[in-house]
Amino acid sequence: MQWFFYIFSVIIVLFPVVKKFNLSVLKAIIIPGSLNTKPNLGLSPTNLFFLHTPKFDATELPCSRIHPVLGHPVMLFIPDDVVGMGLLGELTLTPAMALCPCLKVFSNQLNRPLYIFLYGPSGLPLMFPNSEQPTTAVFKDASYFIDGKKCRLCMVPSLDLSLDRGSVLPDVSYQVESGEGEEQSQNMDPQGQTLLLFLFVDFHRRFPVQKMELWGVHTLLSTHLSAILRESHSVVQDCIQAAVDRALEQHHQAVKAHQKLQASLSVAVNSIMSIMTGSTNSSFRNTCLQTLQAADTQEFGTKLHKSFHEVTQHRFLYHCSHEVKQQLLPEKNEAEQNTEEAHKNSSLELLTGTGEQTENKRLKRGSQGVEETRAFRSAGALSPSEAASRRAEPTAAPLTSSRSRTGPGSGLEDTLWLQEISNLSEWLSSGPGP
């Protein structure tokens, strides 16, 4: 059972490469059975950005990452009766909001689901399968997430998750709808954005928390978190809404930027076509056709538009990754610079890494990342920024590269996955973890 737990934990971190799961959106893994002393490789605010969504064909996905907006952690008030049960310490809640797929690429309406995932101090989901869900009862109040008047959006609790078979249900699900009427929904893009909200509850104490205690806290939270959140209703609402607001603001800006880009490219292409088709200089026309290897003017126009789209999309991707870097690293310090460097490397790989050398680097870094995640995470001992520094080398970032040559089904990812399983087996056979 222990190794089963571990495999699933690894999946949490590495699931972008596990295409066999065919995840429709970001998927949380529910750990079957009770928690034990095995290493915890669960999600935290700091490794979240390494995940991506393999639903769409990579040829259509210039950016396959998610770019969460990390909110500010807030302290939760622990009621006396819960303290009496042994919850002696401090609890913090950190929201992280992401839109999936990447907004910079798919800029459209928000009439899409909102999935909420709750994670405990161990970095694992707070929910257990087939059990009552008192933890999330508090989130039946949609006002926790969106100020409807401010955002002109309304949220309807949703039961029909429409997830693929094998997907794990989010803890809470809503359907977010635009409050601007029918007109907008008619123009809805079939590949609209899904909103993902991760809520990380962390446990802090003056002294290091033992692993066994951590599991105890985890279990305690799974039954009492709802009461704790109710006690801190106002601060919880404020911090979640702030994260949601920031993500939505990004969405609006991305929509504007996307529309501006498309409109500008259209003007540029039409202008070039106007000169080209209106020219009486056959030499000029032929040179243009030959340069783009087009047989006729019509093909030239098509290729011109495609080329413009490709070269500009490249740049928008860079902006995209740059913004994520800034969101996750609000303050400059040495550790954060490391993360920035690592992320920069990963971004560069995502954008330009097609050569053999790059592939080797990917393999190496991917392996390093797993090594790091093998270390026990002392929950509560790491702040998100500290954790970021320790996880400076992205665990799955090198694996997320949607290589333009081979697509998501490339041999590299298969190799990586097999390599991780192999490493895992070796590690398990060598005895219990540290």
Partner: protein
């Protein structure tokens, strides 16, 4: 038989003639401006080829999977502008450039608009038709947003192709007026006589006018249309005959500047400015004399460094005892403009101008030309200007 206005006696123009002689002597000393130092008119085929070359470069960039970009001389930077007393403000030969990228969210729209205007110019040149900047703006006002966007892009293109705007088949809407002793033939053969009582609009094709004839002793540039009309009403051109008057109605358009330059180049007669004694008036005068930063790339075709400041001088306010009630306090914006002009490179070679501006700065007051009407309704045309012209009251 045409009426020939009787001007003042020949002795009236003695000082003016001396001034003209000194200008001609200075010209001879400095040597005639070498031909081709300014932008030359390019043929239609040259313009078309230049545009085609630019399009080819863009297509080549795309074929290499590189984002195309325009490289444009940085016109709005003082570091790229040199001052020479004989030319005014003009761009240095190797100036810094800026890139208008197609893959930058900030500049992609501008990149597209430049291409849009390129395509329009291409059609205009091909069909040998002309359009004004306003026409271009109205072809898609929603896309361009405002006229300034179009104006800037046209200047950028002119600078990029190193050809004057006329070669792009883009005309400026002329708002200037001309009056006085001047006759010329327009490009289409129309004979124009400016000696009539009403002013004539500055033609839109200055390069095309020919057979210019005048006996004028001087050219007076009047800042404001109201003053210009008042001088016409007062029959100033006849009283001071032979002379020419021009107004650009405020900040001059390209054609008015081209006309003043053409008149200077053709006749080498003294050119004077009559502007308000305020920073805005001085700025306008500087545009005629030394050019503007925005059009510095075409300075050789536009500036007339021989221009002199005739009035209204800040020192005249005290000298003529103009009552303080007719003066206006300098605003903060005026003071900032004055400070900015004082820092410009050309002020160092204009000590008298500096002194006048310091008088204005010290008094913290400005005066419009109309302040002279407090002395008498026709004081400007009857006393002020004749005295200035007779006794050399310019700086």
């Amino acid at each position: 038989m045409a009426f020939t206005p009787m001007g003042p006696e020949a002795s009236f123009f003695e000082v003016l003639d001396q001034h003209r002689a000194s200008l001609l002597a200075a010209l001879r000393r400095g040597g005639e401006e070498p031909a081709g130092s300014g932008m030359r008119l390019a043929s239609s085929s040259e313009v078309l080829s230049s545009i085609e070359k630019i399009i080819q470069d863009i297509v080549t960039s795309l074929a290499r999977n590189e984002a195309p970009a325009f490289t444009i001389d940085n016109r709005s930077s003082w570091e790229n502008i040199k001052f020479e007393d004989s030319v005014g403000l003009h761009m240095v030969s190797h100036c810094t450039t800026r890139k208008i990228k197609s893959d930058s969210p900030k500049s992609v729209k501008n990149f597209a608009l430049i291409l849009k205007i390129f395509s329009m110019i291409y059609k205009l040149v091909q069909s040998n038709t002309y359009a004004t900047k306003r026409d271009i703006y109205y072809t898609d006002s929603q896309l361009f947003g405002n006229q300034t966007v179009v104006d800037n892009i046209i200047n950028d293109i002119s600078c990029m192709l190193k050809v004057p705007r006329r070669s792009l088949h883009i005309l400026s809407t002329s708002k200037g007026l001309i009056a006085g002793d001047l006759k010329y033939l327009e490009e289409d053969g129309t004979k124009v006589n400016c000696t009539r009582a009403t002013a004539v609009a500055v033609p839109s094709n200055i390069q095309g006018i020919q057979n210019l004839i005048t006996d004028a002793k001087f050219l007076l540039i009047v800042e404001k249309d109201a003053t210009f009309q008042r001088l016409l009403d007062d029959n100033f051109c006849n009283k001071m005959s032979p002379c020419i008057m021009v107004t650009g109605k405020g900040v001059p358009d390209l054609n008015t500047r081209l006309l003043v330059k053409k008149l200077w180049d053709t006749f080498h007669i003294p050119v004077f400015t009559l502007v308000d004694a305020d920073p805005h008036g001085i700025e306008i005068m500087c545009i005629y004399k030394y050019g503007s930063m925005a059009m510095s790339f075409e300075a050789h075709n536009l500036t007339v460094p021989a221009i002199r400041w005739l009035g209204l001088l800040p020192s005249d306010i005290k000298r003529l005892n103009i009552p303080k009630c007719t003066l206006i306090p300098l605003t903060k914006r005026d003071q900032m403009k004055l400070d900015s002009i004082l820092k410009r490179p050309y002020i160092t070679c204009q000590p008298f101008w500096r002194k006048e501006m310091e008088i204005m700065a010290d008094s913290k007051m400005k005066a419009e030309i109309q302040a002279l009407t407090f002395l008498s309704s026709d004081y400007l045309s009857r006393v002020y200007l004749p005295n200035k012209l007779k006794f050399g009251g310019w700086i």
